[in-house]
Protein backbone atom coordinates (compact mmCIF):
# COMPACT_ATOMS: atom_id res chain seq x y z
CA UNK A 1 0.00 0.00 0.00
CA UNK A 2 1.25 3.42 -1.00
CA UNK A 3 2.12 5.64 1.98
CA UNK A 4 -0.32 8.48 2.54
CA UNK A 5 0.63 12.08 2.63
CA UNK A 6 -0.07 13.79 5.94
CA UNK A 7 -2.78 15.80 4.26
CA UNK A 8 -4.43 12.61 3.03
CA UNK A 9 -4.26 11.07 6.51
CA UNK A 10 -5.67 14.15 8.22
CA UNK A 11 -8.33 14.33 5.52
CA UNK A 12 -9.43 10.80 6.36
CA UNK A 13 -9.57 11.61 10.09
CA UNK A 14 -11.64 14.64 9.26
CA UNK A 15 -14.17 12.81 7.10
CA UNK A 16 -14.40 9.89 9.55
CA UNK A 17 -15.18 12.31 12.36
CA UNK A 18 -17.73 14.13 10.27
CA UNK A 19 -19.38 10.87 9.34
CA UNK A 20 -19.31 9.31 12.82
CA UNK A 21 -20.11 12.38 14.92
CA UNK A 22 -22.26 14.70 12.88
CA UNK A 23 -24.47 15.93 15.73
CA UNK A 24 -24.15 18.56 18.40
CA UNK A 25 -23.40 17.18 21.85
CA UNK A 26 -23.96 18.57 25.35
CA UNK A 27 -20.71 18.24 27.26
CA UNK A 28 -19.78 19.02 30.87
CA UNK A 29 -16.34 20.46 31.43
CA UNK A 30 -14.29 22.85 33.50
CA UNK A 31 -12.81 25.98 31.98
CA UNK A 32 -9.03 26.02 32.44
CA UNK A 33 -8.28 28.92 30.17
CA UNK A 34 -10.20 31.69 28.47
CA UNK A 35 -8.99 34.12 25.85
CA UNK A 36 -11.31 36.54 24.09
CA UNK A 37 -9.83 37.52 20.73
CA UNK A 38 -9.66 40.96 19.23
CA UNK A 39 -12.04 39.91 16.50
CA UNK A 40 -14.78 39.18 19.00
CA UNK A 41 -14.36 35.41 19.11
CA UNK A 42 -13.67 33.62 22.36
CA UNK A 43 -11.21 30.75 22.68
CA UNK A 44 -11.48 28.53 25.70
CA UNK A 45 -9.63 25.57 27.09
CA UNK A 46 -11.70 22.82 28.60
CA UNK A 47 -10.54 20.15 31.03
CA UNK A 48 -11.87 17.27 33.03
CA UNK A 49 -9.99 16.50 36.23
CA UNK A 50 -9.88 13.38 38.33
CA UNK A 51 -11.78 13.56 41.64
CA UNK A 52 -8.73 14.89 43.50
CA UNK A 53 -8.64 17.79 41.08
CA UNK A 54 -4.93 17.32 40.50
CA UNK A 55 -4.78 15.30 37.32
CA UNK A 56 -6.27 16.06 33.93
CA UNK A 57 -8.32 13.22 32.51
CA UNK A 58 -9.25 15.03 29.32
CA UNK A 59 -8.56 18.30 27.59
CA UNK A 60 -9.91 20.10 24.50
CA UNK A 61 -9.87 23.47 22.80
CA UNK A 62 -13.18 25.09 22.07
CA UNK A 63 -14.04 28.08 19.93
CA UNK A 64 -16.99 30.35 20.45
CA UNK A 65 -17.38 32.29 17.21
CA UNK A 66 -18.24 35.94 17.32
CA UNK A 67 -21.94 35.72 16.50
CA UNK A 68 -22.50 32.94 19.03
CA UNK A 69 -20.40 34.68 21.70
CA UNK A 70 -22.35 37.93 21.26
CA UNK A 71 -25.53 36.01 21.94
CA UNK A 72 -24.33 33.62 24.68
CA UNK A 73 -22.25 35.96 26.75
CA UNK A 74 -24.96 38.43 27.86
CA UNK A 75 -27.37 35.56 28.32
CA UNK A 76 -24.96 33.65 30.55
CA UNK A 77 -23.99 36.70 32.58
CA UNK A 78 -27.57 37.72 33.11
CA UNK A 79 -28.54 34.24 34.24
CA UNK A 80 -25.63 33.60 36.58
CA UNK A 81 -24.48 37.04 37.63
CA UNK A 82 -20.98 35.97 36.68
CA UNK A 83 -18.85 35.91 33.56
CA UNK A 84 -17.19 32.81 32.21
CA UNK A 85 -13.90 32.28 34.01
CA UNK A 86 -11.21 29.82 34.81
CA UNK A 87 -12.27 27.18 37.30
CA UNK A 88 -15.91 27.40 36.36
CA UNK A 89 -17.82 24.30 35.46
CA UNK A 90 -19.95 24.64 32.34
CA UNK A 91 -22.40 22.68 30.27
CA UNK A 92 -21.82 23.42 26.58
CA UNK A 93 -23.43 22.28 23.39
CA UNK A 94 -20.64 21.62 20.92
CA UNK A 95 -19.97 20.26 17.48
CA UNK A 96 -16.78 18.32 16.89
CA UNK A 97 -14.44 19.10 14.06
CA UNK A 98 -11.03 18.27 12.77
CA UNK A 99 -8.93 20.55 10.63
CA UNK A 100 -5.99 19.27 8.60
CA UNK A 101 -3.71 22.00 9.94
CA UNK A 102 -5.21 23.01 13.30
CA UNK A 103 -6.32 19.56 14.48
CA UNK A 104 -9.11 18.66 16.83
CA UNK A 105 -11.40 21.30 18.27
CA UNK A 106 -14.89 21.95 19.50
CA UNK A 107 -17.20 24.68 18.33
CA UNK A 108 -19.59 25.96 20.97
CA UNK A 109 -23.21 26.37 19.88
CA UNK A 110 -24.96 26.91 23.19
CA UNK A 111 -24.42 27.08 26.94
CA UNK A 112 -26.64 26.05 29.85
CA UNK A 113 -26.09 28.51 32.72
CA UNK A 114 -28.18 26.55 35.19
CA UNK A 115 -25.46 23.93 35.25
CA UNK A 116 -22.84 26.46 36.32
CA UNK A 117 -25.18 28.00 38.85
CA UNK A 118 -25.92 24.58 40.17
CA UNK A 119 -22.31 23.68 40.54
CA UNK A 120 -20.84 26.76 42.17
CA UNK A 121 -23.01 29.65 43.12
CA UNK A 122 -25.96 27.56 44.18
CA UNK A 123 -23.69 25.44 46.33
CA UNK A 124 -22.39 28.53 48.09
CA UNK A 125 -25.84 29.98 48.46
CA UNK A 126 -27.13 26.76 49.87
CA UNK A 127 -24.34 26.65 52.43
CA UNK A 128 -25.13 30.21 53.47
CA UNK A 129 -28.83 29.45 53.66
CA UNK A 130 -28.11 26.44 55.82
CA UNK A 131 -25.92 28.51 58.13
CA UNK A 132 -28.69 31.09 58.33
CA UNK A 133 -31.24 28.42 59.09
CA UNK A 134 -29.01 26.96 61.78
CA UNK A 135 -28.87 30.39 63.34
CA UNK A 136 -25.10 30.63 63.30
CA UNK A 137 -24.32 32.87 60.34
CA UNK A 138 -23.93 36.11 62.32
CA UNK A 139 -22.55 34.66 65.55
CA UNK A 140 -18.90 35.53 65.09
CA UNK A 141 -19.77 39.08 64.04
CA UNK A 142 -21.52 39.58 67.35
CA UNK A 143 -18.23 39.22 69.22
CA UNK A 144 -16.29 42.38 69.99
CA UNK A 145 -12.71 42.71 68.87
CA UNK A 146 -10.91 43.29 72.18
CA UNK A 147 -9.52 46.78 72.73
CA UNK A 148 -6.08 45.20 72.98
CA UNK A 149 -5.95 42.56 70.24
CA UNK A 150 -2.30 41.69 70.72
CA UNK A 151 -2.31 37.96 71.40
CA UNK A 152 -2.95 36.50 67.98
CA UNK A 153 -3.52 32.90 67.00
CA UNK A 154 -2.64 32.44 63.33
CA UNK A 155 -3.83 29.62 61.12
CA UNK A 156 -1.74 29.47 57.98
CA UNK A 157 0.74 27.36 56.16
CA UNK A 158 4.09 27.86 57.87
CA UNK A 159 5.96 27.98 54.58
CA UNK A 160 3.60 30.30 52.72
CA UNK A 161 4.69 33.86 52.07
CA UNK A 162 1.41 35.10 53.50
CA UNK A 163 2.34 34.21 57.07
CA UNK A 164 5.72 35.91 56.78
CA UNK A 165 4.10 39.03 55.32
CA UNK A 166 1.63 39.12 58.19
CA UNK A 167 4.28 38.84 60.91
CA UNK A 168 6.57 41.37 59.20
CA UNK A 169 3.78 43.87 58.88
CA UNK A 170 2.84 43.49 62.56
CA UNK A 171 6.34 43.61 63.92
CA UNK A 172 7.49 46.63 61.96
CA UNK A 173 4.47 48.77 62.89
CA UNK A 174 5.61 52.38 63.23
CA UNK A 175 3.88 52.95 66.56
CA UNK A 176 5.93 50.33 68.38
CA UNK A 177 2.94 48.24 69.48
CA UNK A 178 3.85 44.80 70.78
CA UNK A 179 2.11 41.79 69.26
CA UNK A 180 2.38 38.16 70.19
CA UNK A 181 1.67 35.63 67.45
CA UNK A 182 1.44 31.87 67.57
CA UNK A 183 1.16 29.81 64.42
CA UNK A 184 -1.18 26.85 64.24
CA UNK A 185 -0.08 25.31 60.94
CA UNK A 186 -2.63 24.04 58.46
CA UNK A 187 -2.82 23.16 54.80
CA UNK A 188 -4.12 26.13 52.87
CA UNK A 189 -4.56 24.52 49.45
CA UNK A 190 -5.49 21.14 48.11
CA UNK A 191 -8.21 18.81 49.18
CA UNK A 192 -7.42 18.64 52.89
CA UNK A 193 -7.86 22.34 53.65
CA UNK A 194 -11.20 21.87 55.35
CA UNK A 195 -10.17 19.19 57.84
CA UNK A 196 -6.74 20.67 58.37
CA UNK A 197 -8.03 24.17 59.16
CA UNK A 198 -10.78 22.83 61.40
CA UNK A 199 -8.36 20.78 63.47
CA UNK A 200 -6.08 23.82 63.82
CA UNK A 201 -9.13 25.80 64.99
CA UNK A 202 -9.84 23.14 67.59
CA UNK A 203 -6.29 23.51 68.88
CA UNK A 204 -6.76 27.28 69.23
CA UNK A 205 -10.16 26.86 70.87
CA UNK A 206 -8.65 24.64 73.56
CA UNK A 207 -6.46 27.59 74.54
CA UNK A 208 -8.96 30.35 73.93
CA UNK A 209 -8.02 32.26 77.09
CA UNK A 210 -4.48 32.68 75.78
CA UNK A 211 -5.61 34.63 72.73
CA UNK A 212 -7.55 37.74 71.73
CA UNK A 213 -8.26 36.97 68.07
CA UNK A 214 -7.86 34.26 65.45
CA UNK A 215 -6.47 35.14 62.04
CA UNK A 216 -6.80 32.75 59.08
CA UNK A 217 -4.51 33.75 56.22
CA UNK A 218 -2.88 32.48 53.08
CA UNK A 219 -1.03 34.02 50.19
CA UNK A 220 -2.73 34.37 46.83
CA UNK A 221 -3.55 31.06 45.17
CA UNK A 222 -5.16 29.81 42.03
CA UNK A 223 -8.73 31.02 41.81
CA UNK A 224 -10.17 27.55 41.54
CA UNK A 225 -8.62 26.54 44.82
CA UNK A 226 -10.76 28.98 46.74
CA UNK A 227 -13.70 26.63 46.61
CA UNK A 228 -12.30 24.80 49.65
CA UNK A 229 -13.31 27.85 51.69
CA UNK A 230 -16.86 27.43 50.45
CA UNK A 231 -17.41 24.70 53.00
CA UNK A 232 -20.28 24.29 55.42
CA UNK A 233 -18.33 22.69 58.24
CA UNK A 234 -15.49 25.19 58.00
CA UNK A 235 -17.95 28.08 57.99
CA UNK A 236 -19.90 26.52 60.87
CA UNK A 237 -16.70 26.33 62.92
CA UNK A 238 -15.79 29.93 62.14
CA UNK A 239 -19.27 31.20 63.00
CA UNK A 240 -19.23 29.38 66.34
CA UNK A 241 -15.64 30.19 67.20
CA UNK A 242 -15.23 31.72 70.68
CA UNK A 243 -12.80 34.40 69.46
CA UNK A 244 -13.35 36.95 66.68
CA UNK A 245 -12.06 35.47 63.40
CA UNK A 246 -10.29 37.59 60.79
CA UNK A 247 -9.85 36.07 57.34
CA UNK A 248 -7.23 37.19 54.82
CA UNK A 249 -7.39 34.44 52.27
CA UNK A 250 -5.91 36.46 49.46
CA UNK A 251 -8.33 36.81 46.60
CA UNK A 252 -10.22 39.40 44.62
CA UNK A 253 -13.36 37.56 43.69
CA UNK A 254 -16.62 37.33 45.60
CA UNK A 255 -16.36 36.42 49.24
CA UNK A 256 -16.03 32.77 50.10
CA UNK A 257 -18.46 31.35 52.62
CA UNK A 258 -15.65 31.46 55.20
CA UNK A 259 -15.29 35.21 54.58
CA UNK A 260 -19.00 35.81 54.94
CA UNK A 261 -19.24 34.27 58.42
CA UNK A 262 -15.92 35.63 59.73
CA UNK A 263 -15.99 38.61 62.09
CA UNK A 264 -13.88 40.63 59.66
CA UNK A 265 -12.74 39.77 56.17
CA UNK A 266 -9.82 41.39 54.46
CA UNK A 267 -8.18 40.53 51.16
CA UNK A 268 -4.60 39.82 52.12
CA UNK A 269 -2.47 38.78 55.11
CA UNK A 270 -0.91 42.24 55.07
CA UNK A 271 -4.33 43.82 55.30
CA UNK A 272 -5.13 41.57 58.26
CA UNK A 273 -2.06 42.92 60.07
CA UNK A 274 -3.05 46.48 59.19
CA UNK A 275 -6.49 45.90 60.64
CA UNK A 276 -5.02 44.82 63.98
CA UNK A 277 -2.51 47.67 64.05
CA UNK A 278 -5.33 50.16 63.42
CA UNK A 279 -7.30 48.69 66.27
CA UNK A 280 -4.30 49.09 68.60
CA UNK A 281 -3.89 52.64 67.34
CA UNK A 282 -7.49 53.43 68.32
CA UNK A 283 -6.78 52.00 71.75
CA UNK A 284 -3.60 54.03 72.17
CA UNK A 285 -5.44 57.17 71.03
CA UNK A 286 -8.15 56.60 73.62
CA UNK A 287 -5.48 56.37 76.32
CA UNK A 288 -3.84 59.53 75.02
CA UNK A 289 -7.14 61.40 75.02
CA UNK A 290 -7.84 60.31 78.57
CA UNK A 291 -4.37 61.36 79.72
CA UNK A 292 -4.93 64.70 78.06
CA UNK A 293 -8.25 65.20 79.78
CA UNK A 294 -6.65 64.28 83.09
CA UNK A 295 -3.97 66.88 82.61
CA UNK A 296 -6.47 69.58 81.61
CA UNK A 297 -8.76 68.83 84.53
CA UNK A 298 -5.92 69.07 87.03
CA UNK A 299 -4.67 72.31 85.56
CA UNK A 300 -8.14 73.76 85.77
CA UNK A 301 -8.51 72.60 89.32
CA UNK A 302 -5.15 74.10 90.23
CA UNK A 303 -6.21 77.37 88.74
CA UNK A 304 -9.21 77.45 91.03
CA UNK A 305 -7.07 76.54 94.03
CA UNK A 306 -4.64 79.30 93.17
CA UNK A 307 -7.40 81.86 93.23
CA UNK A 308 -8.57 80.55 96.58
CA UNK A 309 -5.10 80.78 98.09
CA UNK A 310 -4.72 84.29 96.76
CA UNK A 311 -7.95 85.31 98.37
CA UNK A 312 -6.88 83.86 101.68
CA UNK A 313 -3.45 85.40 101.62
CA UNK A 314 -4.90 88.81 100.84
CA UNK A 315 -6.64 88.64 104.17
CA UNK A 316 -3.48 87.75 106.04
CA UNK A 317 -1.95 90.60 108.06
CA UNK A 318 1.25 92.26 107.03
CA UNK A 319 3.02 90.12 109.56
CA UNK A 320 2.66 87.32 107.04
CA UNK A 321 3.53 89.42 104.04
CA UNK A 322 6.87 87.71 103.57
CA UNK A 323 5.31 84.31 103.70
CA UNK A 324 2.70 85.47 101.25
CA UNK A 325 5.23 86.66 98.72
CA UNK A 326 7.12 83.44 99.07
CA UNK A 327 3.98 81.44 98.54
CA UNK A 328 3.08 83.42 95.51
CA UNK A 329 6.49 82.87 94.04
CA UNK A 330 6.25 79.15 94.63
CA UNK A 331 2.81 79.12 93.13
CA UNK A 332 3.94 81.12 90.13
CA UNK A 333 6.86 78.81 89.61
CA UNK A 334 4.66 75.76 89.91
CA UNK A 335 2.10 77.24 87.59
CA UNK A 336 4.72 77.92 84.92
CA UNK A 337 6.00 74.42 85.19
CA UNK A 338 2.55 73.00 84.77
CA UNK A 339 1.81 75.18 81.79
CA UNK A 340 5.12 74.21 80.21
CA UNK A 341 4.37 70.59 80.86
CA UNK A 342 1.00 70.84 79.23
CA UNK A 343 2.39 72.74 76.24
CA UNK A 344 4.96 70.05 75.74
CA UNK A 345 2.22 67.47 75.72
CA UNK A 346 0.31 69.26 73.05
CA UNK A 347 3.27 69.97 70.79
CA UNK A 348 4.98 66.60 71.07
CA UNK A 349 3.83 64.12 68.45
CA UNK A 350 5.87 61.11 69.38
CA UNK A 351 6.25 60.95 73.16
CA UNK A 352 2.92 62.48 74.00
CA UNK A 353 2.08 60.15 76.79
CA UNK A 354 5.45 60.42 78.55
CA UNK A 355 5.26 64.18 78.46
CA UNK A 356 1.76 64.10 79.77
CA UNK A 357 2.96 62.10 82.71
CA UNK A 358 5.44 64.84 83.50
CA UNK A 359 2.65 67.37 83.24
CA UNK A 360 0.71 65.39 85.74
CA UNK A 361 3.68 64.97 88.03
CA UNK A 362 4.15 68.69 88.30
CA UNK A 363 0.50 69.03 89.16
CA UNK A 364 0.57 66.39 91.87
CA UNK A 365 -0.54 68.02 95.18
CA UNK A 366 1.94 65.83 97.09
CA UNK A 367 4.69 67.50 95.13
CA UNK A 368 2.95 70.83 95.45
CA UNK A 369 3.26 70.56 99.22
CA UNK A 370 6.93 69.70 98.87
CA UNK A 371 7.47 72.76 96.71
CA UNK A 372 6.10 75.17 99.25
CA UNK A 373 2.34 74.98 99.13
CA UNK A 374 0.48 74.48 102.37
CA UNK A 375 -2.95 73.26 103.25
CA UNK A 376 -4.83 75.38 105.71
CA UNK A 377 -7.48 73.93 107.95
CA UNK A 378 -9.87 75.36 110.55
CA UNK A 379 -11.25 72.86 113.02
CA UNK A 380 -9.93 70.07 110.86
CA UNK A 381 -11.66 71.25 107.69
CA UNK A 382 -9.78 72.44 104.65
CA UNK A 383 -10.10 76.14 104.05
CA UNK A 384 -10.91 76.79 100.40
CA UNK A 385 -11.49 80.53 100.60
CA UNK A 386 -11.45 83.56 102.85
CA UNK A 387 -15.20 83.54 102.96
CA UNK A 388 -16.45 82.31 106.31
CA UNK A 389 -13.19 82.94 108.17
CA UNK A 390 -13.50 85.10 111.23
CA UNK A 391 -11.26 87.05 113.51
CA UNK A 392 -10.03 84.78 116.24
CA UNK A 393 -10.25 81.60 114.14
CA UNK A 394 -7.31 79.31 114.68
CA UNK A 395 -5.68 78.21 111.43
CA UNK A 396 -3.77 74.93 111.22
CA UNK A 397 -1.30 75.12 108.35
CA UNK A 398 0.21 71.85 107.07
CA UNK A 399 3.72 71.79 105.65
CA UNK A 400 5.30 68.60 104.33
CA UNK A 401 7.28 68.28 107.55
CA UNK A 402 4.73 69.40 110.14
CA UNK A 403 2.02 71.87 111.04
CA UNK A 404 1.80 75.26 112.67
CA UNK A 405 -1.07 76.95 114.39
CA UNK A 406 -1.96 80.61 113.89
CA UNK A 407 -4.79 82.94 114.75
CA UNK A 408 -6.60 85.47 112.63
CA UNK A 409 -6.34 88.95 114.21
Amino acid sequence: MEPLTLLELNGRVKSTLQFEMPDAYWVQAEISGINPSGQGHCYIELVQKDPTGRTFLAKAKANIWRTTWMRLRPFFEQQTGESLKVGMKVLLQVTVSFHEVYGYSLTVQDIDPTYTLGDMARRRREILQQLEKDGVIGLNKELDIPVLPHRIAVISSATAAGYGDFCDQLNKNVYGFRFYTKLFPALMQGDDVESSVISAMDAVARRRDDFDVLVIIRGGGAVSELSCFDSYSLAFNIANFPLPVITGIGHERDDTVADVVAHTKVKTPTAAAEFLINRMFDTASALETLTHRMSDAVVERMNAEKLRIERVTQKLPSLFAVAKVRREQVLENLWNRTVTGVNNIITSQIHKIELMEKGISSADPVLILKRGYTITRVNGRVVKGAMGLNKGDRLTTSFPDGTIESEII
Partner: protein, 60 residues
Protein backbone atom coordinates in the same frame (compact mmCIF):
# COMPACT_ATOMS: atom_id res chain seq x y z
CA UNK B 1 -5.81 43.52 85.93
CA UNK B 2 -7.05 43.76 82.38
CA UNK B 3 -6.43 46.65 80.05
CA UNK B 4 -10.16 47.35 79.75
CA UNK B 5 -10.52 47.54 83.52
CA UNK B 6 -7.59 49.93 83.80
CA UNK B 7 -9.10 52.21 81.16
CA UNK B 8 -12.46 52.13 82.89
CA UNK B 9 -10.93 53.10 86.22
CA UNK B 10 -8.93 55.87 84.57
CA UNK B 11 -12.05 57.20 82.89
CA UNK B 12 -13.76 57.23 86.29
CA UNK B 13 -10.98 59.22 87.94
CA UNK B 14 -10.79 61.75 85.11
CA UNK B 15 -14.55 62.25 85.11
CA UNK B 16 -14.60 62.86 88.84
CA UNK B 17 -11.87 65.48 88.63
CA UNK B 18 -13.56 67.10 85.62
CA UNK B 19 -16.88 67.23 87.40
CA UNK B 20 -15.23 68.77 90.44
CA UNK B 21 -16.39 65.92 92.62
CA UNK B 22 -13.01 65.36 94.13
CA UNK B 23 -11.64 67.04 97.19
CA UNK B 24 -8.20 68.56 96.78
CA UNK B 25 -6.97 66.09 99.41
CA UNK B 26 -8.13 63.17 97.30
CA UNK B 27 -6.63 64.43 94.06
CA UNK B 28 -3.13 63.51 95.19
CA UNK B 29 -3.98 59.87 95.70
CA UNK B 30 -6.07 59.75 92.55
CA UNK B 31 -3.29 61.23 90.48
CA UNK B 32 -0.92 58.66 91.83
CA UNK B 33 -3.35 55.92 90.90
CA UNK B 34 -3.98 57.46 87.49
CA UNK B 35 -0.28 57.60 86.79
CA UNK B 36 0.07 53.93 87.65
CA UNK B 37 -2.89 53.06 85.45
CA UNK B 38 -1.45 54.99 82.52
CA UNK B 39 1.87 53.27 82.97
CA UNK B 40 0.14 49.90 83.12
CA UNK B 41 -1.72 50.60 79.86
CA UNK B 42 1.35 51.95 78.13
CA UNK B 43 3.36 48.91 79.11
CA UNK B 44 0.68 46.66 77.68
CA UNK B 45 0.80 48.54 74.39
CA UNK B 46 4.49 49.08 73.96
CA UNK B 47 6.50 46.73 76.17
CA UNK B 48 7.17 43.07 75.66
CA UNK B 49 5.50 40.98 78.29
CA UNK B 50 7.66 37.91 78.75
CA UNK B 51 4.87 36.17 80.60
CA UNK B 52 2.59 36.28 77.54
CA UNK B 53 5.48 35.22 75.32
CA UNK B 54 6.10 32.22 77.56
CA UNK B 55 2.46 31.17 77.65
CA UNK B 56 2.11 31.39 73.88
CA UNK B 57 5.34 29.55 73.23
CA UNK B 58 4.27 26.64 75.38
CA UNK B 59 2.41 23.83 73.68
CA UNK B 60 -0.96 22.41 74.63
Amino acid sequence: MKYEEAMKRLEEIVSRIEENKMDIDQIGDSLKEARELIKFCKDKLYKTDEEIRKILDSDD
